[in-house]
């Protein structure tokens, strides 16, 4: 799985680890701008959103990420005001908006299919919100012109939405929402309807717009690459619950659950038993049919505890000979079963007893990619103890 990563716009926002440590999921703190407070929503017997609490800071770019049906869209519709939560509160800037209809909320939405008004010109589409709030004519004119300039559509102002391309329509939808100066901008799968090339272009465009206006952006997406490159922080959702809220880096490097580990990037999982506790949180884990690697415990563990271990494919290096034991403690032999060449990297499926391990190499002499094992060759897989992650034990998805 390939992830295009563009520098995220951290300049507009305070450092996240500090923020993440200070405001936990359940106790929103004072600076939090958008607060989801124990919100639950059911449709019939199904709990679409199950006791979700989140806190987003002012100016932050935040993503709700998850597979379809995880409740992210329902949560978005509750923030916009189209659904009423069964329980819980939603606050923006300290004001409780749970009971307000959509037209009275300081929140605007960029809809998935853009929902542009087909009977109005681009200019009138953007002016719609200002007309609804009965602003003076001069303010409407300057506001709309400025917004169209921001999304670089000034020369298309007189056209109808049907005459625009997909990317242009989306920029109209963004301008139409932003012209009302919302305190929170919601974007529902903003790139889903675009083709690949346009999507990569709009990723950067969205980051630029966010940087320029400084509004709090909430993205809803099922695409991990999109979420990682757009957001300061991501909430990964699964079955109506939030699995983990963290920066893209932390989600990738230290996922708390195997769901997060598989949803963001690829991962190898092993189930093992703790055999020996080492100093500084390192533990020896016995994995049947493979061996006993040394890994970082990632939280309190005890002897004989069963746990799950996760290793990213690109963290595994391959060598033809057994690496010197002092240098690499976690080394296991295996047979190359399958090879897939991707150009920028090559993937190997390696059989080790009953385990099938995915490893990814970059063809560079410094990264150990100068070896070229053939199918059926015996290789050694090794990884650094810090790169084997213990994730929460849960039922296999």
């Amino acid at each position: 799985m390939e992830t295009c990563r563009f520098p995220s716009n951290t300049a507009s926002f305070l450092p996240h680890p500090l923020f993440a440590g200070y405001c936990t999921d359940s106790t929103p703190c004072m600076d939090d701008f958008l607060v989801i407070d124990h919100v639950t929503k059911s449709f019939g017997a199904q709990r679409a959103v199950d006791d979700v609490s989140l806190a987003v800071a002012q100016g932050e770019a935040f993503s709700l990420l998850g597979p379809s049906g995880c409740g992210k869209t329902t949560l978005l519709r509750m923030i916009a005001g189209f659904e009423r939560p069964d329980r819980g509160r939603i606050l923006v800037g300290g004001q409780d908006i749970t009971g307000l209809p959509p037209e009275l909320r300081p929140v605007n939405t960029v809809f998935q299919n853009y929902a542009l008004f087909p009977h109005l010109s681009v200019w009138e589409n953007v002016a719609f919100g200002l007309r609804m709030s009965r602003r003076p004519r001069e303010e409407i004119r300057s506001g709309v012109d400025r917004m169209l300039e921001l999304v670089r559509l000034s020369e298309h102002a007189r056209k109808r939405p049907a005459q625009l391309s997909g990317g242009q329509r989306q920029r109209v939808a963004i301008a139409r929402a932003l012209v009302n100066r919302p305190q929170v901008l919601l974007l529902d799968e903003p790139l889903a309807a675009l083709d690949l090339k346009l999507r990569q272009h709009m990723l950067m465009e969205l980051n630029t717009i966010h940087e320029q206006v400084g509004t709090t952006f909430i993205y809803v997406t099922h695409d991990q690459g999109e979420a990682m490159s757009l957001s300061d922080r991501i909430a990964v959702m699964n079955a109506g619950k939030v699995e983990q809220v963290d920066s893209p880096e932390n989600l990738y490097e230290t996922p708390r659950t195997s769901f997060v580990a598989t949803f963001i990037g690829d991962a190898n999982f092993f189930t093992g038993v703790v055999v020996e506790l080492q100093h500084e949180g390192y533990v020896w884990v016995m994995i049947d049919g493979l061996g006993s690697p040394l890994v970082l415990g990632n939280g309190p563990v005890s002897s004989n505890q069963t746990l799950r271990l996760m290793v990213r494919p690109e963290k595994i290096s391959l060598t033809l000979k057994r690496p010197p034991s002092g240098e690499r403690v976690n080394a296991f032999p295996g047979i190359v079963e399958d090879i897939a060449y991707f150009g920028s990297h090559t993937r190997y499926r390696i059989r080790a007893g009953e385990h099938s391990v995915l490893a990814q190499l970059q063809r560079s002499r410094f990264s150990g990619g100068d070896i070229d094992p053939q199918r059926g060759a015996e290789v050694w897989m090794s990884f650094h103890p810090d790169e084997g992650r213990v994730v929460r034990l849960e039922a296999q998805p």
Binding site: F82, P101, P102, E103, N108, A115, G129, M132
Partner: protein, 285 residues
């Protein structure tokens, strides 16, 4: 649909219905208009030769109030029908499949009984000894001696009753294609529910509104049974006059002049609308 035919030959498919229209509509319509330029004969038929006499006759100022009444009754019926049909079509497009079938059935059921019988039903319902009159008097909603029948308001009521389905069906067809997500977008941008309906839904079903309005208005213009049966002596519409010239006066050229004039009055606006829709569609594409 016509995979086997070349595009240039596709119009052949419309030939049967085109032939039907020419034989049973275009030719009779031309005959009616031609009859207006014929003299009458003493037996109530059409004489030989050509004359402009009838055209002078129909310019009788006595027709003006009748023409005016025909127009405003048709216009008002159209407005009332649209006002009732718009929320109905809106709801029908939003309810579930099952409820939608029930509503459609309810709209179509009245057509199972004869048009005249339904008008007679209104007549007995509104009769001074009828159930509705008695009920309203019993509730002291109308004075004791009130007569509901033979009134221009009654004509309007029954016109709306008969034309309402013809307003609902084209509006429903338009509302079904409407993207209701646009209403969410309007609400999101600060429009209350009513403004969202007026600013987004109504323009969204604009073509349906035009179709419904033409349908209802045109059908009203030709009515003569309803004013004759539930209206008073002074509630005649142009259709009554045409019927009178044909059946009582036996003056076919005069009736033809009135009917031809009415037909042109109906056709011209419809052609304008058709051209406008065609033009509008091209612009949207």
């Amino acid at each position: 649909m016509s995979a086997g035919l070349k595009p240039s030959r596709q119009w052949l498919i419309t030939l049967p219905s085109l032939a039907w229209l020419v034989v049973f509509f275009v030719i009779p319509a031309i005959l009616v208009i031609l009859t207006a330029f014929r003299p009458t004969d003493l037996q109530g038929g059409v004489g030989a030769g050509w004359t402009l006499e009838t055209l002078r006759e129909v310019q009788d100022p006595a027709y003006l109030p009748i023409l005016w009444r025909t127009l405003w009754l048709g216009g008002l019926t159209t407005l009332v029908c649209l006002a009732l049909a718009l929320p109905m079509a809106f709801q029908m497009a939003r309810v579930g499949e099952r409820m939608r079938q029930v509503l459609l059935l309810l709209i179509v059921i009245p057509f199972l009984s004869n048009f005249l019988i339904r008008i007679f039903a209104w007549k007995s319902l509104l009769h001074p000894e009828g159930p509705l009159t008695k009920l309203l008097i019993g509730l002291h909603l109308i004075p004791e001696n009130a007569i509901l029948l033979n009134h221009v308001g009654t004509v309007l009521l029954v016109l709306v009753y008969t034309q309402l389905p013809f307003a609902i069906l084209p509006l429903y067809a338009a509302a079904e294609k409407f993207d209701f997500g646009l209403l969410d977008a309007a609400r999101d941008l600060g429009a209350g529910p009513w403004r969202a309906f007026a600013k987004v839904f109504i323009p969204g079903v604009g073509r349906g509104i035009i179709s419904a309005a033409v349908m209802v208005f045109v059908c009203c213009l030709g009515q003569y049974v309803i004013p004759q049966m539930v209206g008073g002596a002074s509630d005649e519409m142009l259709g009554n006059k045409i019927a009178q010239r044909v059946f009582s006066d036996r003056n076919l050229p005069h009736a033809s002049a009135l009917a031809g004039g009415l037909m042109l009055a109906v056709l011209v606006p419809m052609l304008v609308v058709a051209f406008w829709q065609r033009f509008g569609r091209k612009e949207a594409a």
